[in-house]
Structure formats: C-alpha cells, structure tokens
Amino acid sequence: MMKILMKNRELLLVVAIAALLVLITLRFPAFIEPANLARVYNDTSILIILALGQMAVIMTRCIDLSMAANLALCGMVVAMINSVAPGVPVPALVLLALLLGAFLGSINGLLIWKLEIPPIVVTLGTLTIYRGTIFLLSGGAWINAHQMSDAFKALPRATLAGLPVLSWLSVLMIALIYIVMTRTPLGRAFHAVGGNPHAAVYTGIDVGRTRFAAYCLSGALAGLSGYLWVSRYAVAYVDIANGFELDIIAACVIGGISIAGGIGSVPGAVLGALFLGVIKNALPVINISPFAQMAISGTVIIIAVAVNARAEKRKGRVILKKAEAH
C-alpha cells in the first residue's frame, strides 16, 4: 500500500487532502459541506492557474520567481486603465493583462534563451524590476474598490451553473494546459528538455526556444491572474501578492514536480495547490493564527522536496554520470 502511494504522487496527495479534510471536519463539521468546499476551490483558483505556469517552467529545468511581481504589475496596469477609462470593455482588459503578462514572461525567456543567464538570477532581477515598475506607474498610490467599475469587479464573481466564473476559468486553464502538456509537441518538448537537455537537442528540439515558450506561458497565466486578483479583492497596490511566488513553487514541489526538471504532471500541480488551499482555509476555522501559514508552507516545501528526492532516486538506473552529479 505504502509503496503504491510513494510511487503515485497524485494518489498520495488525494489521500493526504482527504485525511486533512477528515481531521478538519472532526473539529468543524460544516467545513465539508459542498458549498464550503466550492468556496475553498474558488479561493484556490488563482494559485492553481499560477501553479500550472510554474509547472511548465520547472519542467524545463528553470524557475520563475517573478510570477507574483508579474501578476501585481499586470493587475495594477488593468486597474489603472479601468479607473481612468471605465468604458474600456472588461474582456479587452483581460486580454490586455494576458498579453502584458506574456510579454513580461518573454523578457525572462529571452534573457535565458539568448544570453543563457541562469534562470534564478534573471527572475530574481526581474522580480524587483517589475515590483519597482508598479511603484513608478502608480507613485505608490492604491487603486481602491470605488475607483473600479462595477463590470470590472463583477466578472470573477458572476456565477455560471452554480460556480463563480473564477472557478470556471481555473477549470478551463487546467483543461487547456493538460491538453498542451499531454497532446501537443510543445508539451512533449517541455518534458524532453527537462528530462535530458542534451538528448533533446539530438532529437531536434530547440532547448532555448522551448524554455522561452514556457516563460511566455507562465507570464501569460500570471497576467491573467493579475486581473483576477485585482478584481476579486477589489484593490491594487505595490505589494499585492508579495511573497506569493513561494506559494506557487510550494504548490508545484508538493505536486511532485521535480525541481531538477522533466518530472511532473498537471493533476500533480493542481492537487499541490489544493493541498495548500485547504490548509490556508482551514487555519482560521481550527483557531490557528494566520501568521502560522508561512511557516507551514516552508515546512511542507521541505518535506515535499525530500519525498520527491526519494521518489526520483528509485526511478531507475542512472546511465550518465553527468546527470548524477546534478
């Protein structure tokens, strides 16, 4: 039983989440009600969307630390446009956020592809640059709820067949990324580049270009999340989602996505995000200070990466000594 669980990360996570739910329900029975579970899912939707983008990047042996800053910048830009020109239709703003996010992601991607600068350095740098740009644009001012148009705030909240649009959007993104990862050449390239970049080159895959595509994808999803975040919480300022990049990486690591690249799945990323989402929503219910959340995420990251390392070691024989050294 344990063996099967250790081998199948998705199953392990489903069991862990179920166990978590049972524990919470013992203290607080109302938590398990479908309406509340739907609320928890809705609350985790943005994290799920972001984790999907980060998954693609980590899959190619890179990392994107700038996602939260990208989200905040795109959110601020659409919020500012909305406050100045409320007439601009909301779908156009959503599209703009998506494109702007993809553009910011492509800057990361280009630096990594064309100049071969290590991803961690690039995204650590762009993280501060994007955050600083929000300050330059807004002058440190907040865009508050009353400055946003009603349509701007209403979109993620509008319900469709019982669920908010925000939840439906995350479902749509999960389906889309799942198709990309499992049914397209790009998805195979993500796996190949992360699994063995040298072998990928010999099979005709452009490693740099694949990484560039992964960063464009993570950027676009961060941009979309920027609109969703700002409209859902009805406020935009310099520090929104500060530190959220760690939660995104945590979701991926918990979801069994190997930081060494090549290993990971869409269900894993989604379940990893849901695991964090359940914890976050359960803390206030069972009377634990919300300040504890940061330490819990940290502990879960460390445990998850240790479990990942064990799972990966059993994966088979290492033929190339070079791969072993990393």
Binding site: E116, T128, L136, A250, M294, A295, G298, T299, I301
Partner: protein, 332 residues
C-alpha cells in the same frame, strides 16, 4: 540548474600583470573610483567623513553575509534563506531580552540561532542530498514564518543600552564597529578562500563535485561548513542590524537575499560556481553602498533603488556575455 557548458582553458596563461589589468576586479575598481568622483560632484554633502561613515551602514551587514555567500556560490550552491535567518535570530534575541538576559547572552543567542539555521540548511542539503535552491526557499519561508508566529504584528523594542554599541558604536574616530567588522571579515574570508586548503576545496567542488570527491575532498563536509558559516554570518549581521535599529519586526531585512546575491555576482563570482574572489566582493559592496548612498542624497525612493539593483544584477551577467560574443564576431 542551467547546463554547464565545457569551460575552455587556454594552453598558456597570460602574464601576471596583463591578467591583473584585464580582471573583473580592476574594472570594478575603476567603476568604484568613477562613482566616488561623480558622487562627490553630484552632492556637496558626499565628501564629509561622517556622511561617508554613515554610508558604510548601507552595506556592511549585507557584505558580511556576502563573503560567506560568495563561498557557497563558488561551491555551486546557493542560500536564499539568509534574510529569514536574520529575522529569526533577531526574534530569538528579542525573546531572550524579554526574559531579562544581559547583552553577552543576547549576542550568544543571536550567534547560536544563526548557526542552528545554517546547520539545518546544511543537513538537509548535504545529509539528504536535496537541491539547495528549493531547500533554502523552504527554510526562507520556515524561518521567517517562525518569526511571524512568535511576533505576529507585534515588535520587540527596549533592547538594553549596552546592546546598541554593536550597530551604533564607533571603534575609532569615524570608523564604526560594523565597518571594523566588515574589514576583519574581508581579511578572514580572503585568507580562507585564497590561501588555505579549504579554499582550494571550495573552488574544486564548484568546478567538478564528482572529480573533487574522487580526489579526496570531503564534498559533503565542506558544503555543510559553508552553510554553517553563512548561517553564522547571518546571525552576526542580525546582531548588528537589531542593535542598529533597536527593534525587531518579523519583516526585518525583507528581500536582503536578493541584495546579497547581487553583491556576490557583481563581485565577479560565477553564479554557476567555480570562480570568484573576495576582493571582487569587497569592491562590489563598496560600489553598491556608494550608489545607494548617492541615490539617497538625491532623494530617490528605496523601491526605485531596488529596480536599479535588479537591472544591475542582470546586466553585470549579460554584459560580459555580450562583450565576449561581440569580440568573437569581430575575430571572424
């Protein structure tokens, strides 16, 4: 994480003086002198000994960590948890202060917390063989998270008066205790990296961990010591910073890991490991300190300075690559 392309080693090294002239460190020296000159023209307040002494506080604490971080990065690892270690050891000192302990005990608590955090990082990375980037992202969240659990939205203040000396005291004339410590650690780490077997081992590990293992270097132990040292330096920086601010909040030193890594990379340390020098890091610290001080005199807000640091981090790595490419194109 990126793939290491084979390094080309020339058949014959250039002459000593020509190597020295063309080195990254000489370039940094020129930049440092240039910034110093520009600053002294830009603001009439720059060339005042006490103002310059104040300016050193901009970088001394970060530079102390940068020395240890340089060794970690040269050995091919990274430690992103340093700022969180500062927060946790500051919080531990605050708890000790509230329990009524005296200044020497507070210092001991700060150092011990730093060492313990470093030991945790080291054990996870070398003991379990986990990638340092994820481990330290995890501990970064864990250590600061613990501070948040202990402090919440509160702060520790009322540190004893004698504790203030570490961050505010002067050893001689305008030279602060922190600056003296910075010089002392620069010498210690310079000797450690450039004149001891341990330093050679650090370079060897960064260039080829497998080969160094086969040639008898205790790779795991050296790496463990490096993370221990980084934790210790973060503990020392935490004592200085807490003493200088006279208070502890869980958000203390937020984002410093970025500035420390920038300092190390600006100092010419290869982010992929294997090369770099302490004099380079010292010069980078001086440059970053002078630039932030100059911006401060010109009333540039802190967050704009952080944009500058981000651009600096990327461009110091990008420019040499572009320069090398341009030269190769010219040669063809």
């Amino acid at each position: 994480m990126a793939d290491v392309s084979p390094r080309i080693i020339p058949d014959r090294l250039q002459g000593r003086s020509s190597r020295l002239l063309k080195s990254w460190e000489s370039l940094l020296l020129v930049v440092a002198v240039l910034i110093f000159t520009i600053n002294s023209f830009a603001s009439p307040y720059f060339l005042d000994p006490w103002n310059l002494s104040d300016a050193t506080f901009n970088f001394t604490e970060k530079a102390m960590i940068a020395f240890a971080m340089a060794l970690v990065i040269i050995a091919g690892e990274i430690d992103l948890s340093v700022a969180s270690i500062i927060a946790l050891s500051s919080t531990a000192m605050g708890l000790a202060m509230q329990a009524g302990f005296d200044t020497p005990t507070l210092v001991a608590v700060g150092l011990a917390t730093g060492l313990a955090c470093g030991a945790i990082n080291g054990a996870l990375i070398t003991g379990l063989g986990l990638p340092s980037i994820v481990v330290t992202i995890g501990t970064m969240s864990l250590f600061r998270g613990l501070s948040f659990i202990i402090l919440g939205d509160q702060a520790f203040t009322n540190y004893p008066a004698s504790f203030a000396w570490f961050g505010q005291g002067y050893v001689w004339w305008v030279f602060s205790f922190e600056f003296a410590l910075f010089i002392a650690f620069a010498v210690i780490y310079g000797v450690l990296l450039h004149w001891t077997n341990f330093g050679r081992a650090v370079y060897a590990i960064g260039n080829n961990p497998t080969a160094s293992l086969f040639s008898g270097v205790r790779v795991g132990r050296v790496k463990f010591i490096l993370f221990l040292l980084t934790g210790l330096m973060a503990g020392i920086a935490s004592i200085c910073l807490t003493s200088r601010l006279g208070s502890t909040r869980p958000s203390i030193a937020l984002g410093w890991e970025l500035e420390v890594v920038t300092m190390v990379v600006l100092g010419g340390v290869n982010i992929l490991g294997g090369s770099g020098t302490i004099p380079g890091v010292v010069l980078a610290a001086l440059i970053m300190g002078m630039v932030t001080f100059g911006f401060g005199l010109l009333n540039v807000p802190g967050i704009v300075m952080s944009i500058f640091i981000g651009v600096l981090l990327i461009s110091v790595i990008a420019l040499p690559i572009l320069w090398k490419r341009a030269r190769r194109r010219m040669a063809h």
